[in-house]
Amino acid sequence: MKPIFARGISNQFRLTLAIVLSVILLVANDRLEPVRQSISSLLSPLQYVANIPGAVLDWSAESIATRNMLAKQNKQLLRQQLLMSERLQRFEHLRQENDRLRALLGSPVHMDSKKMVAEVMEVASDPFRHYVVLNHGARSGVFVGQPVVDAHGVVGQVVEISELTSRVLLISDVTHAIPVRVTRNDVRLVVQGIGELDELELRHVAKSTDLRVGDLLVSSGLGKRFPEGYPVARVMKVERDDGQSYATVTAQPLAALDRIRYLLLIWPDGNQSEQAEPKADEPKAEETP
């Protein structure tokens, strides 16, 4: 028989110590961000290794794609590109016009913001939250609070970074809310996640608010976190029940949150000069009724 527990501390003491330490961690969670960042930088190789099987599957799916499939896809993409470039021609014209008008009004002209494509790493996250992990981190200049979009709309924001990876909180998470504006009439609202990938909620909407099914909601830029004008969701259902004090409104996110693979990280203009920017932003905010 081994000399079990012949020396050292008792199990009860160990348990008490573990519980006390855990409670300290639970309480101090938000202040421990730097520690978390450095430990997750150390652990990120593990995430890269865990991502390998998924990457290999992707790669093999691509390499055994038949010539027919590729040709079909190519044709489709060409058509899409033609449509897009036509739209872009018009857009370029509108942008110049907009810049001229803004210059006449004396408002700041919108700059092209820096963007970067990031790939979603296939690693599991906390099942109670809606997270994805990206393959870019502090080394690529990613910062906490950075907006993330995909081809269709806003996806979420970066909440945690390590050297080589970053974690994005999706707009469908229960703790996420984003200020939006209805494109039809500039009504300002807040869209909140409810923990469903395909459903969002608009809270505290007065029953008299002019809101219809099918309205497009774009980011209003009021939270100073998401740049203005990115599409967020489309209104799906508006219920005005007399028994409730507010209307119940649900919306569907435009980004396909359940099958995202490539995302865009956005550096909003003037992120470097955060102190100087709010002043320049003010007149813009007043303009929006």
Binding site: K2, P3, I4, F5, G8, N11, R14, L15, L17, A18, I19, L21, S22, V23, I24, L25, L26, A28, N29, L32, R36, I39, S40, L43, L46, Q47, V49, A50, N51, P53, G54, E122, V123, A124, S125, D126, P127, F128, R129, Y131, V133, V159, E160, R167, V174, T175, G195
Partner: protein, 162 residues
């Protein structure tokens, strides 16, 4: 060689590392909610086999690492894993002598306890909604435990871990 001298520590930590890897490995959507708690299973095995070396505080450290890997609120899994391992360490003699099916049932109920604790703390510090699928990992852990046990015992004997 004396029994007091630890031997083969690296094997144990390597097994923890692999378990962590399995814990965050991508799974197809359907199987995702059935993911066994690899790390907890491996930790239970080592706590059962060598309770004087790998016990509550090692479980705490692994729990913190897992919380960080999953991006969860810090301390949730640390708390629940150390509580579960406390139960294992208290009853390791009995657990060792159980027939395999009984042992697997015990392990499954420990996994249940772990998930309940995680849900409960999650509910307190954040919002979380209860779902019965929370207990699916316990079922898959029940099925997978005999194999984990058998493999880790072989590893322990081959590398003479103590």
């Amino acid at each position: 060689m004396s029994m007091h001298i630890p031997h083969g520590r690296w094997v144990v930590w390597l097994s923890f590392l692999l378990a962590m890897l399995f814990q965050i490995m991508p799974l197809p959507g359907l199987v995702e909610s059935w993911r066994p708690d690899w790390l907890l299973l491996v930790m239970i095995y080592w706590a059962m086999a060598l309770p004087h070396r790998y016990n509550i505080l090692s479980a705490w450290v692994l729990g913190v690492l897992l919380d960080i890997l999953l991006g969860a609120h810090l301390g949730i899994r640390a708390l629940s894993m150390s509580l579960v391992i406390y139960v294992v360490v208290l009853h390791f003699q009995r657990l060792r002598n159980f027939p395999m099916w009984q042992q697997a049932l015990m392990v499954a109920s420990l996994v249940c306890l772990h998930h309940l604790l995680v849900f409960w703390v999650q509910f307190v510090v954040n919002v979380a909604s209860f779902d019965v699928s929370l207990f699916l990992p316990a079922l898959s852990s029940l099925i997978i435990w005999p194999w984990v046990f058998w493999m880790l015992r072989r590893i322990r004997r081959i590398y003479k871990v103590r």
